[in-house]
């Protein structure tokens, strides 16, 4: 019942956004609005804001004159390419985040020393970091292992994804009810036993929103990394390429932008499903 309603609300919200878009095209200034000489309101003309139906019909048309595959397939392929890298980034980021959270929960000193740097790390612009990661990766030689280009993008996805996981999990691991900890103490349970039998299960409700943030952050990280490292094949590269044709083919770039948005939603959905499975035996209030 609630599931069906959620799908409806989602569809309705999409329609509403499309409606507002078209409304602005009718009512908004064609060449943008200026306030005190500053252009604030966006241009409502067809180059800057193509009609919704133009964007949708663009999916059925070929990417360019040279090809006859509809752009929908090209966008889907790009999204699939980026999806796999983002998933790798999320996995890597989650592993690092969990490891850091356990370390910080175990040793207060580590938490005090490390946490400010973790916060600081997130202020480093990804675009500045991208070429560095690529060059470090290129110099890395582990026997027969060659650093593939996509791995740099995955690392940058992980760089954004690990942070919410680390902070959320740390919060969860340190919010264990004192009475439960005492109970484990009375059983002379080791720290490890307490971690896996009590702290982690009790932390799950804190970890699920963190993982959802991480999933979308990983997509953003990979898309930005594709753009700034020039990695071809993914949705990020498509956005940059199509944006260059914004004047001649304004609807084209939006097909790729929506592709990236859908990708984020799919990642989010995957984490939600994992969360539902992990929390299936919990009281209803906690899973809502």
């Amino acid at each position: 019942m609630t599931r069906v309603r959620r799908v409806w609300t989602f569809a309705l919200a999409l329609l509403l956004v499309a409606g507002l878009w078209e409304l602005y095209k009718v009512a908004g200034p064609q060449d943008g609005g200026t306030v005190f000489g500053w252009t604030i309101l966006p241009r409502a003309n067809d180059t800057a804001m193509p009609h919704v139906w133009e964007m949708l019909s663009r999916y059925g048309q070929p990417e360019n004159r040279a090809s006859d595959t509809p752009i929908l397939l090209v966008v889907l392929q790009g999204a699939w390419f980026t999806f796999r890298i983002a998933l790798a980034g999320l996995a890597l980021g989650t592993a690092i985040g969990l490891g850091l959270a356990v370390l910080m929960a175990r040793y207060k000193v580590v938490e005090r020393g490390l946490l400010p740097y973790l916060v600081l790390s997130q202020t480093v612009p990804l675009i500045a970091l991208a070429p560095l990661v690529v060059s470090w990766g290129g110099r890395l030689h582990l026997g027969a292992f060659e650093w593939p280009r996509w791995l740099s993008a995955a690392v940058l996805g992980a760089f954004l994804a690990f942070f919410p996981v680390a902070v959320g999990t740390l919060r969860g691991l340190t919010s264990t009810p004192p009475a439960s900890l005492e109970l484990m103490d009375s059983y002379a349970a080791s720290w490890r036993q307490t971690l896996f039998k009590l702290r982690f299960p009790a932390a799950l409700p804190y970890m699920s929103p963190a993982l959802k943030l991480a999933a979308t952050a990983s997509v953003v990280g990979v898309v930005v990394a594709e753009i700034s490292t020039g990695l071809a094949g993914g949705i990020g590269r498509l956005i940059i390429e199509y944006a260059r044709e914004a004047t001649s083919d304004p609807a084209k770039v939006f097909t790729a932008v929506f592709g990236a948005a859908a990708l984020g939603l799919v990642m989010f959905a995957i984490v939600t499903v994992v969360d539902l499975v992990g929390m299936r035996n919990r009281p209803r209030e906690a899973t809502e």
Partner: protein
């Protein structure tokens, strides 16, 4: 079982036990001062007194969940720490403290899991314990699907799962309504009788202490100490009718007299200190 190896040893021996929180500071609290208490195997001993009298502190010292400032605690003839490491006691708190992600059976299996029992043995013991607390129909339920009284019964099953010779209980029925509470008291006596478990029981309730105990230890605050010990000779077979006998009323009066004149502490160091220590 483990008590047979130590024939004649007291279940609990408390000698010169003191606990000072924030020692040496201005806000130092003498939670417990120079306490002696011997508990023989098979006894049911209640600790009663107003907030801040050190009853919970004493229980936690016996459980080795906190270290004494001075004095010694022996459990089954061993140092309290060794007894804890050997899981010589089971413990139940006011909050049942069940793990909501584990089924009822899995909750009871927890201490056995930590002891490294194999799956089949764990399962059969857990079912046996749940049968003992009359929850056989709810083995696959989750804690949040049970009433408060049922949750507390699961907690008792969990505390006794490894067949410890000693059960430590900190106001386990404090959060239950009066009817459930009286029912749980009768059940507890039956369970402890069947398993011949020694019990140390912390409570605020005079009738509860009298109904359950062979001895009631009356304590007073500032500093926390034992002021009187009341023997309760109501016999081993206590039931619903026991609560209406003259002897029961006489004992309730005796404990109430012993508590009269004891002023409650202004603060509740027990709770605050626990929170601070953790």
């Amino acid at each position: 079982m483990s008590s047979s190896a130590l024939e004649g040893a007291n279940a609990v021996e408390v000698r010169g036990l003191s606990k000072v929180f924030n020692a040496g500071r201005q806000d130092a609290v003498e939670a417990l001062l120079d306490t002696d208490l011997m508990i023989r195997p098979g006894e049911f001993v209640s600790l009663i007194g107003p907030s801040g009298c050190g009853k919970s502190t004493q229980l936690r010292l016996i459980a080795n969940l906190t270290e004494p400032t001075t004095g010694t605690v022996l459990v089954n003839g061993k140092a309290a720490r060794a007894a804890r490491l050997d899981q010589d006691y089971g413990m139940a708190f006011q909050q049942a403290g069940l793990f909501e992600w584990r089924s009822v059976t899995k909750n009871v299996e927890l201490p056995l899991e930590l002891k490294g029992w194999d799956k089949a043995r764990r399962r059969s013991r857990a079912l046996e314990m749940l049968d003992l607390v009359k929850l056989s129909e709810f083995v696959d339920h989750f804690p949040w699907q049970l009433s408060g009284g049922m949750q507390q019964r699961v907690a008792i099953a969990r505390a006794l799962a490894a067949h410890p010779p000693l059960l430590l209980m900190d106001e386990p029925f404090g959060a239950l309504d009066e009817m459930t509470r009286e029912h749980m008291q009768t059940e507890l006596l039956r369970i402890c009788g069947e398993t011949s478990t020694t019990v140390v029981f912390v409570t605020h309730s005079i009738p509860e202490a009298v109904f359950l105990s062979t001895r009631v230890v009356v304590m007073s605050p500032r500093p926390g100490r034992i002021t009187e010990v009341v023997d309760v000779d109501l016999g081993p077979d206590r039931g619903v009718d026991t609560r209406e006998t003259e002897a029961f009323f006489a004992k309730v009066t005796e404990v109430r007299e012993a508590l009269r004149g004891i002023q409650p502490a202004d603060v509740e160091p027990d709770i605050e200190q626990v929170a601070e220590e953790l």
